[in-house]
């Protein structure tokens, strides 16, 4: 009788624990410091003289493009999302993503580059009212958005030829990074902020879908989800059953690292969760869609192939 009880207890524990064997751990991280930026050579940038002497780049990732155009010397302020190492000496003039007008006006810029996400509007109005030229450039949410963004920044600074040259270089590097894999791994992109109860799954237009597509991986979240970002539900994720999960570094930290992520309902039931196949890319790098994207793509495809092997 005791043996029967023991067997029942063991079976119950087995059901409750999911009855899994020893998982394989295959997580990887790609940091800002691991990538390099596509930058114009001295020959390419000497052809044009920029129309501005002091530039503040508030548009997401714009400072990286200005620096890639060889114009880091005219940057007097940047946004928090431009985290390229060569920009560390350029002061950040925002609080988080909030523009601080006093800091910007005090830097005496000729031109301030903004995009649709730059705000608050009252701060932009104050900058315009002080006589500073504010130029709006398009945002980049996919690989194809990089080119118009670079050209718009080139036009705003009077270096259109340099922008065209930079675009050519970036596109060539992206082509080089686009190594199509034999068997496209099934991946999902999760946007996580565990400390704020934000758990989202990337869908069509999240940005990650264009990156994964370029390197021959399948964004299965984008195949079934209706919106660019969708509430992550345990069942939907378990049914999609990705082999690899792509996250941002701080997002991964916010749920307690790889251990915390695979403990989330739904994640632990996927092949990715069972084998801890998680790839984390630094937050400001993954969806930067700028001159660092080709290098990040090359590293990402290398890590995917390593993890999927």
């Amino acid at each position: 009788m005791r043996k029967v009880h023991l067997l029942i207890a063991t079976l119950m524990l087995c059901v409750l624990s999911g009855c899994g064997g020893e998982p394989r751990v295959d997580s990887a991280q790609i940091h800002d410091s691991d990538v390099t930026s596509v930058t114009l050579s001295a020959d390419e940038i000497s052809l044009e003289v920029p129309t501005s002497k002091r530039v503040i780049a508030l548009a997401n990732g714009a400072a990286e493009i200005v620096a890639a155009l060889g114009l880091k010397n005219i940057l007097v302020g940047r946004d928090i999302a431009s985290t390229d190492a060569q920009l560390l000496s350029v002061p950040i003039v925002t609080s988080g993503h909030q523009v601080i007008p006093e800091k910007i006006i005090a830097a005496h810029p000729d031109v301030v580059l903004i995009d649709a996400s730059t705000g608050p509007q009252s701060a932009i109005d104050q900058i315009v009212a002080s006589g500073i030229s504010v130029k709006k450039i398009p945002e980049s949410w996919t690989l194809v958005d990089i080119s118009p963004k670079v050209l718009a920044i080139g036009d705003a600074l009077g270096v259109s030829s340099g922008a065209t040259a930079l675009n050519t270089r970036i596109q060539a590097e992206i082509q080089r990074a686009s190594v199509h894999m034999k068997k496209a791994p099934r991946m999902v992109f999760l946007y996580l902020r565990g400390t704020s109860s934000i758990y989202l799954m990337g869908g069509p237009g999240s940005g990650a879908d264009s990156l994964l597509d370029a390197i021959g991986a399948r964004d299965v979240g984008a195949e079934v989800m209706p919106h660019p970002f969708n509430t992550l539900t345990a069942e939907a994720l378990a049914q999609i059953n990705p082999e690899i999960i792509l996250v941002m570094t701080k997002g991964l930290e916010s749920v307690g690292g790889v251990t915390g992520l695979v403990a989330l309902p739904g994640v632990g039931q996927t092949d990715a969760g069972k084998n801890s196949r998680i790839i984390a890319v630094d937050d400001s790098l993954l969806l930067s869609f700028g001159p660092r994207t080709p290098s990040m793509l090359a590293l990402l495809s290398k890590e995917i192939m390593k993890v999927a092997a």
Binding site: L16, T195, Q239, G268, Q269
Partner: protein, 336 residues
């Protein structure tokens, strides 16, 4: 006033619960073939994905919803009975906010993790201290009315909710959960692992509640009447608030604060079955379980694949039932 027979009501409630459990296992963001086959053969993994969804995702949520609902219904009976106040409920007396503060502090100092027995103990202690604080502050004035208790309780809740808000903002740690978790509750993070501590604590809390419930009938006649009948109202109240704290501690430490069920379930039971506390406790627990399970099933299926906050659904489901009963029946608060 026509009352429903308790036994017949119990059969109806259990039938409703079984129907809800069946629906809840069948519905979800993902489609699972042969749900009943997977349920009846937990060890057979012919459909691994379906097995995972049913046993590792839907099963813990359904069990947790039943336990949490029963807990909140019973906690409401304890709160209302101990305070002899129909407006008392865990989130008004400060018990829920106190439990959240207790668990959060326990997690932040590294003593406990959410879903453990330690977290339940921290939640129960925090809930008990907060409830006693409300009681002590409200009874400092000799002319203290029922309304004084409610106002003081709301103030204590607000103060402790602010402490939780500040602590989660400063700490910003994954294991400390989010402010919305503590304020509005969420069943989305429940796993099988969390069920053991929850189930044991809930059963213990319900046993204590069932033992003390008859004494609360005496308390409903007033402290003086209770004393004349040989009862010590302070001991009855202490035990009832202890049961309340244990139940709320178990609930809040697992899924955060889900409001309204603790108020609605006992009143619905009282309207249907009369004021006897043991009957109200039994039916309040069943009604609470039905409300939370129905709410959680709706929360994860109505806007699928997105998920709605469960607190919205508990109000949407419980409030119309309560309003309908209030407008068609007269309530009996005290035992005659």
């Amino acid at each position: 006033m026509h009352r429903v027979s308790s036994r017949r009501g119990a059969f109806v409630s259990i039938a409703i619960l079984l129907a809800l459990i069946s629906i809840s296992f069948t519905l979800g963001a993902a489609h699972v073939d042969n749900v009943w086959n997977v349920l009846l053969h937990p060890m057979r993994h012919s459909d691994q994905s379906g097995h995972d969804i049913i046993w590792n995702i839907r099963f813990p949520r359904i069990v947790a919803a039943l336990l949490i609902g029963a807990t909140l219904g019973a906690a409401g009976v304890m709160a209302q009975g101990a305070c002899n106040n129909p407006l008392a409920e865990p989130s008004i007396l400060g018990t829920s906010a106190g439990a959240a503060t207790g668990v959060l502090l326990g997690v932040l100092v590294g003593a406990v993790s959410i879903g453990s027995f330690g977290a339940v103990v921290c939640g129960a202690l925090g809930g008990f201290l907060a409830t006693m604080l409300t009681f002590t502050l409200a009874s400092r004035r000799s002319s203290a009315s029922s309304m004084t208790l409610v106002i003081v309780g709301i103030a204590v809740s607000a103060m402790l909710a602010a402490v939780v808000g500040v602590a989660t903002s400063i700490a910003s740690r994954a294991d400390a959960r989010s402010l919305s978790f503590w304020n509005f509750g969420s069943m989305a993070l429940v796993t099988n692992k969390d069920l053991i501590a929850l189930a044991v604590s809930v059963v213990a809390g319900l046993i204590i509640a069932a033992r003390i419930a008859p004494s609360l009938d005496v308390l409903s006649l007033g402290d003086d009447s209770a004393r004349h009948r040989g009862f010590d109202s302070r001991i009855i109240r202490f035990v009832a608030l202890g049961a309340l704290s244990l139940l709320v501690g178990a609930s809040v430490s697992t899924v955060g604060s889900i409001a309204f069920v603790g108020l609605a379930a006992p009143h619905i039971a009282r309207f249907l079955y009369g004021p006897t506390n043991r009957t109200v406790l039994f039916h309040g627990a069943l009604i609470g379980a039905a409300i939370v399970l129905a709410a959680d099933t709706a929360a994860r299926t109505v806007a699928s694949p997105n998920e709605l906050p469960i607190g919205l659904l508990t109000s949407l489901i419980g409030a119309p039932v309560l309003i309908a009963l209030v407008s068609t029946r007269s309530s009996v608060w005290k035992i005659s």
